[in-house]
Amino acid sequence: MQVVLEQDPVPIVKIMGAQLRRALTHPDILKTATSMRGSFALRSTTDPQQVTVALARDRMTLTRGIANDAGIIIHIDFRTNDSTKVDGRWRHPLFALKVAKLLKPPTPKWTDAAKRFWELVHAQSGMPGTVKLVCTDDDREYVMGDGHIDVEIYGAASNLVRLLNGSMVFMEGAYRGEIKILASLEHTAVLTEVSKKHMMGELGI
């Protein structure tokens, strides 16, 4: 299925486009998506960002704002992907269920997410050679790269997955205390840059 973004897309269009492309790598979600017809919209509960997703056969088109023909409107915190309200769910219950499935793909294990993350980012300019991840739920460690450890990242499995899966910007996660980091300013900046690119799907899926 093709995910098509508007011309000169705003951030939320790029971010949702990347999230949907990732979700579509799961065969059952792809099957669900290809059976869907119509539009739904997402309205941020924390800022003016809005995006409409139109589904038609093998194509998903994302545009900024809320289209008039959006069957359901989901009020969502884009940072956590938690929805607080869904307008139109009673008029389009099946469609709403399918949208919910599309937006909540299965969460990978944090170590699997780490492997994929490293494949996508390790060759980016200025990247640290080695990054150690520590899951604070059980103190399990996973090292990305070889050699001397340049950066250490600590966090709960759920937060590590968000970082590694393109749902958290490195520095913002650290600022909010969702992850703890041991890194130079240079590596902090580079990891923040690549996590932003990852979030917007600029490094592949």
């Binding site: 951030p11 003016p48 960002q49 900024r64 200025g126 300013l185 240079e186 902090t188 900046a189 840059e193």
Partner: protein, 460 residues
């Protein structure tokens, strides 16, 4: 001025404190008030300042989503190296002098990210060819009766502009008269700092003024622009008023910063004029202007650096919106003026009032240099009104993201200015774009957002 002569200069001007002034990428001035003894002791290297002074955004946050190899890791120190040729007495405060600085590394190495150094490098390339650039900027800004404190407390609503004729006017003396006590003080302070102004007038609407400075070399001109903006701010504070260089602070006409420039030889003989050419345009002018035209879509990123800059772009709004040039045509992007040899110049009309003058002049001159190096051919002149045109006419980038994409794809500017400089700037614009959308702005709204007022009104 040699460092050894500084003591004598400071004695003669009774200076006890020097305020250093360097310009960040976004344009705000940063520096310190320094005791005379500390200032002289720090020469010629200059004094230390945290690296975030150069690498920070308009909210004061260090750039944490991009990196340049010359940045100091772990928030180490840079130096502010005084350019002693710019040392000037305050004139109002008898103890204080001011000095423009460049950012350098801790061992005095030039920092490529320093906007003033970027302009100096580009100007040096022109000078090496035996040419000299003369330039000037038109400063457009809005003047308010209320203080910054009052405007901020009122969340920038009910902006009380200076002037009373409410509809768009231009050069209206009655509106201008209401700004005379403010401008009298401004022009007095300009004179005290050896900044030669030529004229000021009401521009295109109530509260909008334009101040024109005498041309000089580009670095001196950019210095004068940042000092003039600081003077305007200080007079406004002293008089419980406010000025803003936001490109579009209200629904009325926006503010630009048109930049005029020409080339001369080292004896100041004009080189854009050719009396033997039917159109009086020299071949040097053709190549130079062709370079600026070719690189213009990419240069928009520097000329219109903020989200708010792009609210200026609209048909029939006095701002150019098309990729055009023309002779004495104020609707095109590049207005060529060839009335006499001395007056022959290019007026670059794309710049918004919120631009960084060092970087804006650097990108314009870099375009000219690219035209000379590659002997670029000038596209056809546009001889009509360049607003309301059919779609087949190329528009300039009209969002910060389109402009940054054009910049990233421009090989000519990268060659002259350096790929690392372009890349770093582009990433700062990505951050500006992301911050606007993620922190509460709405491009679809025609109203200026609170986010824009909070971020730009006082600082830019």
């Amino acid at each position: 001025m040699e460092a050894a002569a500084i003591q004598d200069w400071l004695d003669r001007h009774h200076v006890e404190v020097v305020r250093t002034h360097a310009t960040t990428l976004d344009g705000p001035g940063v520096g310190k008030y320094i005791r005379r003894s500390k200032f002289t002791k720090s020469l010629p290297m200059g004094h230390g300042i945290c690296e975030s002074a150069l690498s920070m955004d308009l909210t004061g946050s260090p750039h944490l989503s991009h990196w340049h190899p010359q940045r100091e890791d772990n928030l180490g120190d840079l130096l502010l190296k005084p350019d002693l040729e710019t040392l000037v007495s305050d004139g109002i405060d008898p103890q204080v002098a001011h000095c423009i600085c460049n950012f350098t590394s801790p061992d005095g190495e030039e920092l490529r990210l320093c906007p003033r150094s970027t302009l100096q490098r580009v100007v040096a390339e022109v000078n090496d060819l035996g040419f000299r650039v003369r330039a000037t900027c038109e400063l457009e800004f809005y003047l308010f009766r209320a203080s910054y404190v009052a405007l901020r407390e009122n969340e920038f609503r009910d902006l009380s502009l200076v002037g009373t004729i409410p509809h768009p006017t231009v050069y209206l003396i009655r509106n201008a008269y209401q700004a005379t006590s403010f401008m009298r003080e401004v022009t007095k302070r300009l004179g005290l700092k050896d900044i030669v102004w030529e004229s000021w007038n009401e521009e295109a609407g109530v509260g909008q003024l334009e101040l024109n400075l005498e041309p000089s070399d580009p670095v001196r001109m950019a210095d004068n622009v940042v000092l003039t903006k600081q003077i305007l701010y200080e007079v406004a504070v002293d008089q419980d008023m406010a000025v803003t260089f936001m490109a579009k602070p209200s629904k009325s006409l926006a503010s630009g910063m048109h930049i005029h420039h020409s080339l001369t030889d080292s004896s100041a003989n004009p080189l854009f004029h050719d009396p033997d050419s039917p159109d009086r345009r020299s071949s040097l002018l053709r190549n130079w202007l062709a370079g600026i035209m070719t690189t213009l879509p990419a240069a928009v990123s520097y000329l219109c650096p903020t989200i708010n800059s792009y609210r200026r772009f609209a048909d029939f709004s006095a701002a150019p919106i098309t990729h055009t040039w023309g002779e004495d045509n104020r609707s095109v992007a590049l207005r060529l003026i060839t009335k006499s040899a001395e007056a022959t110049r290019i007026e670059h009309r794309v710049g918004a009032s919120d631009l960084n003058p060092y970087l804006a002049m650097a990108v314009i001159i870099a375009g000219g240099l690219a035209g000379l190096r590659n002997k670029l051919e000038l596209p056809q002149e546009f001889r009509k009104i360049a607003w309301g045109l059919p779609d087949k006419y190329e528009r300039l980038p009209d969002t910060i993201s389109k402009a940054v994409n054009a910049l990233r794809n421009d090989a000519l500017l990268k060659e002259v200015m350096g790929e690392d400089i372009i890349d770093y700037w582009a990433k700062t614009r990505d951050s500006e774009w992301l911050a606007f959308h993620a922190q509460g702005g709405n491009l679809e709204s025609r109203d200026i957002s609170d986010w824009e007022y909070r971020r730009y009104f006082e600082l830019i």
